[in-house]
Amino acid sequence: MIALEEIRAQAIDIEPGGEASPFAVESIRRRTPVLSRYLNSQDWKLISLALRQRAQFSSEVENFRLMQQIQRRLEQAISQLRNERGVYVNEQQFVAEMKKIVEEEGLGPIDPRDIGTLKDIGSEARLRLIWRFQTEQANEYARWRMANDPDVLNAFPAQEFKRVAVRRVPRLNWPERFTAAGGRIIHGRMIDLVNSTTWENLSVFGQPWPPFDYNSGMGLVSLSRRETESLGLLQPGEKVTPRYVDFNAQLEASVRDLSERYQNALKTLFGDQIVIEDGAAKWQGNIIADLYDRVLKNPGLQQELSLGTATASTVQKAREAGVEDLTGYRMVIRTDEMRKIYKKRGIEEADPTQAVITQNDWEALPFVWRDPDSVQIRRPRNFILTKRIDGTLYVAEWIRNRENKTVMLRTFWKKKAGPLTR
């Protein structure tokens, strides 16, 4: 007989500090700010979770500065980083700061009846919803990832769906929804194995971690192996297979049913950041910044990248500036131009009115292309697009090629002050 009482779980250390969950940080950091002009909330629901998880998106918000700041502050909050004032970002500051940007950018609702409602991106209710939803998402994603660790899963193979936060008007139909999703109600409790498909069926967002609906106070409580076995969900010693590998595979396949319209919208939004093959979309990451990094490391690299076709906004502003119709024109970046930009605008930027282009700045380029503030014609084939993002004025010059309907990036810089061109 083993002296079980010898196990003294006394070594519990409590310490301030420590790292945030890398999964929670990853969940926020991998997102790219995306403007929603091309897809509404309903459209987004049809798009695979894998892509939605990689887009920082808020319904009917088309302002890059706002989406970028939302992304930045959430990332700081989840990573436990202090902001520029040396304080941790919290919900109240987030709401105040985003509200200020909304006012500065004039992003109020068109219909005055929507002021202060969830349709108003500047309302406290909407901004709180964004904060709470996204921080909850990040933390719950992290817990889901750890719950699928084989050792953790073996020790805690099931979970109960129950109320974890009080709501003034709680939803009462959860038991029906739970059984409809394939879950089992055991002794009045909503319980299933961690690796069951019940969870993503239950979620209006199609994800197996909370929140399962907007502003829901329902969450998950892990159940030990002993309790799971006593409830008859597993046989003694029966192994449980982690699900996240399968789930990820399913994510990439789940866009197969996307119509051409959605595929086109995705391509317009993300350009080469996603690849659509046989109706399946796969995320490629921040390919421009990645390519720039490869260009710096490999002087012989020859490659070109497309960032999607001209948006309606770009076409219209270009037309107003006297640029030939850009409808259907594809934006292309070549490694040779990147190299030149690195030399002229990166390490050797001589103009004191211009700031050095860094790898991060390249992530702004798709937004300059898709949603410019202004367009200026320079020569018959050359034109400039500008966009101010978070106080920085980005300027990109392009050459139009009528034969293959492309616009090629010629140069890219960011201004501190002074006229756009030298």
């Binding site: 083993i2 002296a3 079980l4 010898e6 196990i7 003294r8 779980a9 006394q10 070594a11 519990i12 250390d13 409590i14 310490e15 301030p16 500090g17 420590g18 790292e19 945030a20 969950s21 929670a24 989840i78 436990q80 902001n83 520029e84 004032r85 040396g86 941790y88 919290n90 109240q92 500051q93 709401v95 105040a96 509200k99 200020k100 406290e124 709470r132 921080t135 909850e136 933390n139 992290a142 817990r143 750890m146 660790d149 050792d151 953790v152 073996n154 020790a155 805690f156 974890v164 936060a165 009080v166 106070g217 969450g219 409580v221 892990s222 030990s224 192996r225 002993r226 003694p236 010693g237």
Partner: protein, 205 residues
């Protein structure tokens, strides 16, 4: 700043050779214990969410602080040496350890809500707030932010007419908070639960 709770049984089992031989896979045991710690901590925080609070006793709107702490509590690391549960919310460290809070760079005062409408909201988003000035130790200083009838002072500045003000926030230069002794569950309870989990683990076929 997060709070980390490390569960490490390596010292506790030293010298128990029978146990050592059974613990060929110590990561699995640590995973069970780490997850148990997460479950117990979250249960404690959820209980506090559903219990009374200072704000709710005043009839102020619930901010779901403890639900957010439960949500931020995650098993973050498991290895042969132990497991770590992280409570990833800087407000929790303040609850556990207490301490003095000062305004961030560029700010003079902290705003302490005085009424329900101000609770859980930044003063920056409330329109029409005006400083309420008082003489303190011979010095004029802002003591609160409020709303009320505005009059123009002799110097031409708008100010709240005395007697009409509603104070929304008190302005203070710092706040010192004592640790909350119930921020964490009782350690004896937590140890007992971990011990039960370890026994359960070892009793498995």
């Amino acid at each position: 700043m997060a709070v980390e709770i490390e569960v490490d049984l390596s010292d506790a089992i030293k010298g128990v050779e029978d146990l050592r031989s059974q613990l060929a896979n110590r990561r699995a045991l640590n995973a069970a214990l780490g997850k148990r710690a997460e479950v117990e901590l979250r249960a404690h925080f959820t209980d506090r969410e559903q219990g009374p609070s200072k704000a709710s006793s005043r009839g102020w709107p619930k901010q779901h602080f403890w639900a957010q702490i439960a949500q931020a509590t995650t098993l973050t690391e498991v290895n042969d040496d132990g497991a770590t549960v992280t409570i990833n919310d800087p407000r929790f460290a303040q609850k556990v350890y207490g301490g003095t809070i000062k305004p961030g760079a560029g700010k003079k005062y902290l705003t302490i809500p005085a009424i329900a409408q101000a609770y859980g909201r930044s003063a920056q988003i409330i329109e029409g707030l005006k400083p309420i000035i008082r003489m303190i130790a011979g010095e004029r200083r802002a003591v609160a932010l409020g709303k009320g009838e505005t009059v123009i002072s002799k110097k031409g500045n708008p100010r709240l007419k005395p007697g009409t003000e509603t104070i929304w926030y008190w302005l203070v230069k710092s706040v010192t908070q004592e640790p909350d002794p119930q921020a964490l569950p009782p350690m004896d309870h937590l140890k007992e639960k971990l011990q039960d989990e370890a026994k359960e683990y070892l009793a498995r076929p």
